[in-house]
């Protein structure tokens, strides 16, 4: 090996010891530029002398330069690895964060419990083939009452304390319609009077008017009553209505659908109770209740009388029944060919149970402290 080649080896040795002593990445980068930099590095400078060497020495010199470069680069790589590893170790050994400090918070949006409950209801009924449809809140007397077998003066109107709307003197017409009374009731126009629907049942008629069987719909929506508000009553509230019409539907299907609904919403352990009730637009009519999921139907909890069901052990969920043949005929269905069932329940009732909300008025008060808690 020539003297020059030996110089290269010495340089590599020197570089190796400098690299091994490099304190940080910056020092290492400076050494990289100094020894193996492409333009001004020692190896490059050495190779630039190559043409001035006797031809016989060139291969040996070239080989020595390459060997030196490899030694330096591998030293650089080694030291680089060491420095990175020790940096990571220092970081790992560094001060721990106080994880008990409050985080950088994100804003969390929430659904209103009513819209959440309506979604849950429509989701469950969709699973049983019921399509969600909606209809007008401001409604004709015809759809809200007459078409549901509740003519003016019918005692069932007492249950539906109605808010009337001023349009075109609809109240006057309402009174006039009542005033004709008795057997002499004039055929009232569908166009008058106007009211705020007292239930979602008018949609039974609207849907049947628009569709031919088979029909399966669920109708969530806002309803209104002339009613003093308290912890369980609101003048503005939400209901869900169901309607199914087909050739072979019976009370057993109605019971099955509501049974399934109750268990999907409150758990598979729920028992369902079915008892006769009265609605002018269904016959036979029924009320469905399920056993209280808080006290398991016993009516009592450790704290005494169960507050959720009022001690009865049952929670009334919906009114229901087979659609009255007169209502079917009115929309042009043939009751000897098709029959069906309808049901209707309160959304707030379910929302109160699902969220543990004690007072129905909280839903419309929109106190964010409440809304953020449910």
């Amino acid at each position: 090996m020539s003297i020059v080649a030996n110089d290269l080896a010495d340089m590599a040795t020197r570089a190796e010891s400098e690299i091994a002593a490099a304190a940080d990445e910056a020092a290492l980068d400076a050494l990289r530029v100094r020894y193996v930099g492409r333009r001004e590095g020692e190896i490059t400078k050495a190779l630039k002398t190559l043409p001035s060497l006797p031809a016989a020495e060139r291969p040996a010199f070239g080989a020595a330069a390459n060997a030196a470069r490899e030694r330096i680069e591998s030293a650089l790589e080694r030291r680089g690895g060491e420095l990175r590893a020790s940096a990571l170790e220092r970081d790992i050994a560094g001060a721990a964060a106080d994880l008990t400090l409050p985080p950088r918070r994100v804003r969390v949006g929430r659904y209103h419990p009513i819209s959440r409950t309506i979604r849950e209801i429509t989701r469950i009924f969709a699973g049983m083939g019921f399509e969600a449809v909606e209809g007008p809140e401001v409604e004709w007397d015809y759809y809200n009452f007459e078409a549901l077998n509740i003519p003016p003066g019918h005692p069932a109107r007492d249950k539906f304390s109605t808010l009337w709307v001023n349009a075109e003197g609809s109240m006057e017409v309402a009174l006039a319609a009542t005033g004709t009374g008795g057997r002499a009731v004039a055929e009232p126009s569908r166009r008058q009077p106007m009211l705020l629907r007292t239930h979602t049942s008018p949609m039974q008629i609207r849907v049947m008017e628009q569709r031919r069987p088979p029909v399966r719909v669920v109708v969530p929506g806002r309803c209104y009553r002339f009613e003093a508000t308290d912890a369980t009553h609101e003048s503005v509230f939400f209901q869900y209505e169901g309607l199914a019409i087909d050739e072979q539907l019976s009370m057993a299907d109605l019971k099955g659908v509501l049974y399934s609904f109750a268990r999907q919403i409150f758990g598979s352990e729920r028992k369902v109770r079915f008892r006769p009730d009265y609605f002018p637009f269904t016959e036979p009519s029924a009320e469905i209740a399920f056993d209280c999921f808080v006290c398991d139907g016993s009516g009592t909890t450790n704290a005494g009388r169960c507050a959720t069901c009022g001690g009865s052990g049952w929670i009334e969920a919906a009114g229901c029944g087979m659609v009255h043949p007169e209502a079917l005929r009115r929309v042009g269905y043939d009751p000897s060919q098709v029959q069906g069932f309808a049901f209707g329940g309160g959304v707030e009732r379910l929302a109160m149970l699902l969220t543990g909300t004690p007072d129905i008025r909280l839903f419309h008060q929109n106190d964010l402290r409440y809304l953020e808690s449910v």
Partner: protein
């Protein structure tokens, strides 16, 4: 629903109740007679039967008395009372200190009796009213007990009773009586029903004693009456008084009590007239004539309407038919001749007259509540015969004649059905024997003709007319719980799609995702709110729909805008917090002539006060920052991006909003979006901070502006970036600059422009501002060279110079 209190001991007169009171209540409930609750009056502890032994004035109060009560075994106490109906010797309930009672001065909530000094004198216990005992509404006086009741006995041993309170469906007036419930109980238990004793009535009535006439047989289909002589007015026996009290009525006199007793027992209201006061010896059912008036039993002089049905004699109106009698013909002490009326009245007319004279509701006429229902015309003769029987037994009366005017007897329907209809409707197999047994128990007559069944309901049932009614009757007795459960089979209806509702739910999801809280407010609002939406009170929305009979002025308007509700929600919440971000999705109601209003679904948003930190006061990482208009722009932009919607160019300014910090996006003739900072003067009216931002988005227009989904394949070639800063006039709008940059760079592969900085200050001349942008270039065909990008940037710079006189600061 009409309610009925049924004392179980009374019920046992008509049916053997072999099960407990709780069980019969439960079984009646499950068969359709809704039980509201079961009351027990036997829980009275520390309440005794006592005699008043002395009564003297309270020395310090005119209206108070000091009563000495003896409650047996020589125990006496002095109590202070204000009751007007006490006399020495009266037998009354006496409650010791420690007894539980209903506090009449506190809405009847339960209280425990404590010794109390009243006007300086200690009252050791209390004599009780029916209300305080919880057995009736009466609190005008102390409950006077049977004079024979044993002094010193526990009250529960004398008055103890279980009372089932029913809510009877309005189609079942036949069940709104003790015998009605008894018939149901008998059918359920399968035991016989025992009708109460009836007096056989004569079929003749001497017209010189009484003539009965119906002038309008639509309004009064049937009128029966009896003429009784030798009536001895007095008090009714204790057992009758106790039953009336237990059923919620107040004993008055023997004749009145008997009519009330029979009303409760049979379900037929009756009215007793002092026959000697009937002029012309007549009872006439007719419509009132113009100008007629009557003073009713409640002492009110009533001007009658021509549509009011009245009972009159030959000269004057005696009372409102089926609602309330008149003062003048009322039976009174000394009455000996009684004309007793039991009639049928048309329910709708009765209802209207009741309402018109303010006699409806639970405080009104009990008879009117019954006549508002479709009571069977078969009931009057039953009620009459029963009442005559009781009047003979309890008032010494002799019936000398009776009359039944019933010009057009009502036909009882025959309902035809097939046995298979029962299974078809119920989805349950009910055997023939089981079905006819149920009908038999309910008192229905039936004939079987092969598969056909012809059913005739009992005449007093007015709710049966179609096969489904019969199916329900069978099901009630067989038990609804025996109906199986199954899920519907058959063809699933084809679902239509509801794009607007799907859009609404996407928007709801997006806004919740942005961190906004959803609210739902009353759709009925205060009219005053609508005048607080603009600084000068001018309306924002068209003339709204109004509720004719609102529950309160706060809920009179069917809202034509969400803004007022949103501001109210914000305002109430800002009283206890420093910032909020809320939204509501609901319809607004816009009147249309001759039609229902349009219900226009609207998305409303409010950002108000502090935007950050999210948790109030927690500034250790995030300094306080109030919402700015750009936050609201971000929400609307986010909504458009989340739903891939939005079209058109906004106009600056909108009513009720800050003229320079608001915008509206008009689509056709409608506002698709109205948004911006609330006019600070409006904010002040709602006690909201100036940093209040509202937006209203028309959901249907949002849906209409949805763009088709265009899936993007990630680009194959790398992008190149250049930063550029330039100075323009301060008035230059960013949107114009951006539009021109995009136009100029389009051919050169400009993919995106991002605003990095907006600077006004020392580094730029007055009246100028500097935009710094990052430009992203990319070609779909290959990697762009530096030279390509430089050329594109030069073109953009040239355009900025040309259009805006821009000076390039750095590139």
């Amino acid at each position: 629903m009409p309610s009925l209190k049924v004392p179980v001991s009374w019920l046992r007169d008509y049916v053997d109740v072999s099960v407990s009171s709780d069980e019969i209540a439960e079984r009646l409930h499950m068969a359709g007679m809704e039980v509201d609750h079961v009351e027990r009056t036997w829980d009275w502890d520390k309440i005794w039967v006592a005699r008043i032994t002395a009564l003297e004035r309270h020395p310090n109060a005119d209206k108070l008395l000091l009563a000495t009560v003896d409650y047996g075994d020589g125990r006496t106490r002095q109590v202070v009372t204000g009751a007007p109906n006490l006399a020495v010797g009266a037998i009354v309930p006496y409650a010791e200190v420690g007894a539980a009672y209903k506090d009449a001065h506190n809405d009847g909530t339960m209280a425990v009796l404590e010794p109390k000094k009243m006007r300086g004198i200690m009252s050791e216990g209390m004599v009780m009213s029916a209300l305080e005992l919880g057995i009736g509404p009466d609190h005008e006086g102390i409950l006077l007990l049977d004079p024979q009741a044993p002094v010193g006995a526990r009250l529960r041993d004398v008055l103890g009773e279980t009372v089932i309170q029913f809510e009877i469906a309005p189609n079942r007036p036949d069940a709104l009586s003790l015998t009605g419930i008894a018939r149901e109980a008998a059918a359920i238990l399968g035991t016989p029903y025992r009708a109460p004793a009836m007096e056989p009535l004569p079929h003749r009535l001497d017209p010189s004693l009484l003539v009965v006439r119906i002038e309008d047989d639509d309004a009064c289909p049937r009128f029966t009456a009896a003429y009784l002589t030798g009536v001895r007015m007095g008090t009714s026996p204790a057992w009758m008084q106790q039953r009336l009290i237990a059923a919620g009525m107040r004993p008055i006199s023997n004749v009145v009590d008997i009519t009330n007793y029979v009303m409760l027992e049979i379900g037929q209201p009756l009215h007793a007239y002092d026959a000697e006061r009937l002029r012309g010896r007549a009872l006439v059912a007719r419509l009132a004539r113009a100008g007629e008036a009557v003073r009713t039993l409640d002492g009110v002089d009533r001007i009658l309407r021509a549509s009011d049905l009245v009972i009159a004699d030959e000269e004057r109106v005696l009372g409102l038919a089926g609602i309330m009698g008149g003062e003048d013909s009322e039976i009174r002490e000394g009455t000996t001749e009684v004309a007793l009326e039991a009639a049928s009245f048309e329910p709708r007319r009765t209802r209207r007259t009741t309402d018109a004279h303010g006699l409806g509701g639970s405080g009104g006429s009990a008879a009117a509540r019954r006549f508002a229902l479709d009571l069977s015309p078969e009931l009057p003769p039953l009620g009459l015969a029963r009442a005559v029987h009781l009047l003979r037994e309890l008032a010494g009366a002799t019936v000398v004649g009776a009359v039944d005017v019933y010009p057009r007897p009502r036909q009882v329907p025959n309902v035809k059905l097939r046995f298979s209809d029962i299974g078809r409707v119920l989805g349950a197999e009910v055997g023939r024997d089981e079905a006819v047994d149920a009908l038999r128990r309910l008192g229905f007559a039936y004939a079987e003709l092969g598969d056909q069944l012809v059913v005739t309901p009992p005449a007093i049932r007015t709710d049966i007319g179609i096969p489904e009614d019969i199916v329900e009757e069978v099901a009630r007795i067989v038990g609804y719980d025996t109906i199986p459960t199954r899920l519907p089979t058959g063809v699933l209806p084809l679902h239509e799609r509801h794009p607007l509702e799907r859009m609404r739910e996407r928007v709801r999801d997006a806004l919740v995702g942005f961190g906004l809280q959803e609210t739902i407010s009353y759709a009925l609002i205060d009219e005053a709110w609508l005048r607080r939406l603009t600084p000068d009170g001018s309306p924002l929305a068209p003339e709204p729909l109004r509720v004719t009979n609102p529950t309160s002025a706060q809920q009179e308007i069917v809202r034509p805008t969400l803004r007022a509700s949103l501001l109210d929600t914000a305002s109430r919440n800002m009283k206890h917090r420093k910032g909020l971000a809320i939204f509501e999705i609901d319809p607004v109601y816009l009147p249309r002539p001759g039609d229902l209003p349009e219900e226009r679904w609207t998305v409303g948003v409010v950002l108000c006060g502090l935007a950050e930190p999210v948790r109030e006061g927690e500034t250790w990482l995030t300094p306080e920052r109030v919402f700015e208009v750009s936050d609201l722009q971000g929400v609307i932009d986010g909504l458009h991006r989340a739903t891939r919607s939005g079209r058109g160019t906004p106009e600056v300014g909108a009513p009720g909003l800050h003229p320079g910090r608001s915008w509206r996006l008009v689509d056709g003739a409608r506002d698709a979006v109205v948004a911006g900072q609330l006019d600070p003067r409006v904010a002040e009216m709602w006690e909201l901070p100036p940093a209040t931002f509202v937006a209203e988005v028309d959901l249907a227009l949002l849906l209409a502006s949805v763009r088709p989904n265009a899936a993007l394949t990630p680009p194959r070639y790398p992008a190149a970036w250049r930063d550029l800063a330039f100075v323009v006039d301060d008035a230059t709008a960013w949107r114009d600059v951006e539009t021109d940059i995009r136009a100029a760079g389009a051919k050169g592969g400009l993919e995106d422009v991002a605003l990095r900085d907006l600077y006004r200050g020392a580094q730029v001349p007055a009246g100028k501002k500097s935009f710094a942008v990052r430009l992203t270039f990319r070609s779909p065909a290959g990697t762009l060279s530096d030279a390509d990008v430089d050329r594109a940037v030069a073109k953009i710079e040239a355009r900025l110079l040309h259009r805006f006189g821009a000076t390039i600061r750095a590139s």
